[in-house]
């Protein structure tokens, strides 16, 4: 519209306003860039730049107390030290990554199962919009308190003399308190699931709410059972939400070290924990190298996920 306006102006009287169309186009492009600029600036300064620095530092040399700005892959080689010699036994770093992946997989499958179920309930069983909103807000209540408090709240519940153990002893189900309740993989996964299920609920709910209810009826009309409808209609159509939720949960859990630290009683090693340890030892290049490795693995998982669904197309 604007570019047309330039041509349509009466030339005899308004020479100044008659701007050449190509100039108009340039101006439009400029304005578009200007509009995107604040976000670009924030994104560059707080995300791209640090990422670049981390990658650069990961290829620096270091000794016990300082980093040396010279190219060296010591950060990487130190990380995998002895891994080849140890074969077929796994070295510490590989074991740690496997453990992180295991925790991630457990958390992912549980949050997916619970998140999908909750979203399904909200989208298909709660009929009124008001109740859908109320119940979704109810899901956000845990987020009104800080992460740390929500984690620590588990301790009096799961501890050796905690509510669960006392209760079970009281009913006579156990004689000795259960040791695996707290500071174990169990408590870590429990806390992670508790913290992050909501990140699954929201995108899946968002996908499901957009499924035309008549499709469910059409499936029923064609003789599909509830389970067949779920597998053949609901899950395929909720896939974008599942993938987006999975990306949220996987990226958070892969990099987590606080939850795993607190709930694991600082006894469970994870990819995030390695970076923290290296940082505490002031071995920045090694920490950066580990960060780059972790980033690489996470990107691999996510690109595999986006293979399944073209998320951009679905948004």
């Amino acid at each position: 519209m604007q570019s047309k306006g330039g041509q349509g102006v009466d030339k005899s009287c308004c020479a100044i306003t008659a701007i050449h169309p190509s100039m108009m186009q340039d101006r439009k492009t400029f304005v578009a860039w200007l509009q995107a600029a604040p976000m670009m600036l924030v994104f560059s300064v707080f995300f791209l730049l640090p990422l670049l620095l981390v990658t650069i530092v990961s290829a620096w040399d270091y000794n016990e107390y300082e980093m040396i700005p010279a190219f060296s892959l010591r950060g990487y080689s130190d990380t995998f030290e002895g891994c080849i010699a140890d074969l077929p036994n796994l070295c510490t770093i590989l074991k740690t990554y496997l453990k992180t992946l295991k925790l991630c997989l457990l958390t992912w499958s549980l949050t997916l199962l619970i998140g999908f179920t909750v979203a399904y309930f909200l989208a298909f069983h709660v009929r009124s919009k008001t109740w859908q909103i109320v119940l979704t807000l109810l899901c956000t209540i845990p987020f009104w308190t800080s992460n740390v408090i929500r984690m620590i709240a588990w301790i009096p519940l799961l501890g050796r003399n905690g509510l669960v153990n006392r209760g079970l002893e009281g009913v006579g189900l156990i004689r000795q308190p259960l040791e695996w309740l707290l500071f174990s993989e169990f408590s870590v996964v429990l806390a992670l699931v508790h913290l992050f299920t909501f990140f699954m609920v929201v995108p899946i709910f968002n996908s499901m709410i957009r499924i035309d209810k008549r499709l469910i009826e059409a499936a029923y009309d064609a003789g599909a059972t509830g389970w067949q409808t779920l597998v053949n209609v609901v899950i395929p159509l909720a896939k974008p939400g599942i993938v987006i939720g999975s990306i949220f949960v996987i990226t958070i859990v892969m990099g987590d070290f606080v939850t795993i630290g607190v709930m694991g009683g600082q006894q469970i090693a994870s990819a995030g924990k390695i970076i923290e340890t290296r940082l505490n030892a002031l071995q920045f290049p090694a920490a950066a190298a580990n960060a780059v490795i972790l980033l690489g693995i996470t990107i691999l998982i996510i690109s595999a996920l986006t293979r399944i669904v073209d998320v951009r197309k679905e948004l």
């Binding site: 035309d212 008549r214 499709l215 009826e217 059409a218 499936a219 029923y220 009309d221 064609a222 003789g223 599909a224 059972t225 067949q228 053949n232 209609v233 395929p236 159509l237």
Partner: protein, 344 residues
Amino acid sequence: MTTTAALELVQLTKMYGGVTAVDAINLKIPPGSYCCLLGPSGCGKTSTLRMVAGHESVTSGDILVGPKNVTDLPPADRSTAMMFQSYALFPHLSVIDNVAFALKMKGVAKAARHDEANKLLELVDMQPYAARLPGQLSGGQQQRVALARALITSPQILLLDEPLSALDPFLRLRMRAELKKLQRELGLTFIHVTHGQDEAMALADIVVLMNAGRIEQQGSPREIFNHPRTEFTAKFIGGHNVIAVGPETFAVRVDRLMPKRPSEAVAGPSVAGTISEVEYQGTYVRVVIAVDGGSEISAQVTETQFDAANYAVGERVLATWDPTQANLLKTTSPVIARSPERAA
């Protein structure tokens, strides 16, 4: 190739909370007929269809397909199939997988169900599009796929929920003809819900006109158009003037109403009024008469008749009709009301 069945509704009732949507209707539709459930929105026609399909529970009453009482059966066991409003095709499945869906649910092997689906796609002329997704099809094409999908279970009764409302007017006429042709060829019972009386008139063997949860009138399109029994029918079906003469109300077709000059000799009933509008419509001329007392009626006269009389706006006329052509309506309402111009 296909078998068909009669449909019978016995005292069928649907209540939503305290609101009665369908009020104890009785209806018999012979096998192989094309039936249109016609009525304004909220008259209970869609609820009736959904109860027949099995997508809505029945509050009381029975639904019989052929000799079988299907009232409490799931949709797939009723020998009915439904074609949904705006088709409800699965957006993530190709055309052929959409059509073969019901067979997949039954556990038919892929090759066999694709064979069967291909036959139906051929029937609706959609075979070249088998690999497309529904989003890549036009409205008319989507409708054909929806038809094929509904037919794959070999239903005896096909239920269509406003099948033409999603199409543009031009396509609507074409798909309407295709529906009728398909029904004739397959010999199935079609139950078609619509709010368009033109659609019902063009398609139906039996028109069931519903109002406020009850059947207002049923019969062939000609019966209903020529013998409306109530004011509602006369107004909804269109093409009628509802005229009160003394305590009685009559329905007079617009093309049977004849304006006469006060000077002319008038035998039979008439109402006096002033011509308020003259519209040339090509095949006929519409003369709108403001009846003394407020309301408007309209007469549809041929071009020749109009030329002979040459009525002008503002002229005093008597609207007359042949009493044998008027239908006495079962209503106590003394209002003189103009019929909605639906037939035009």
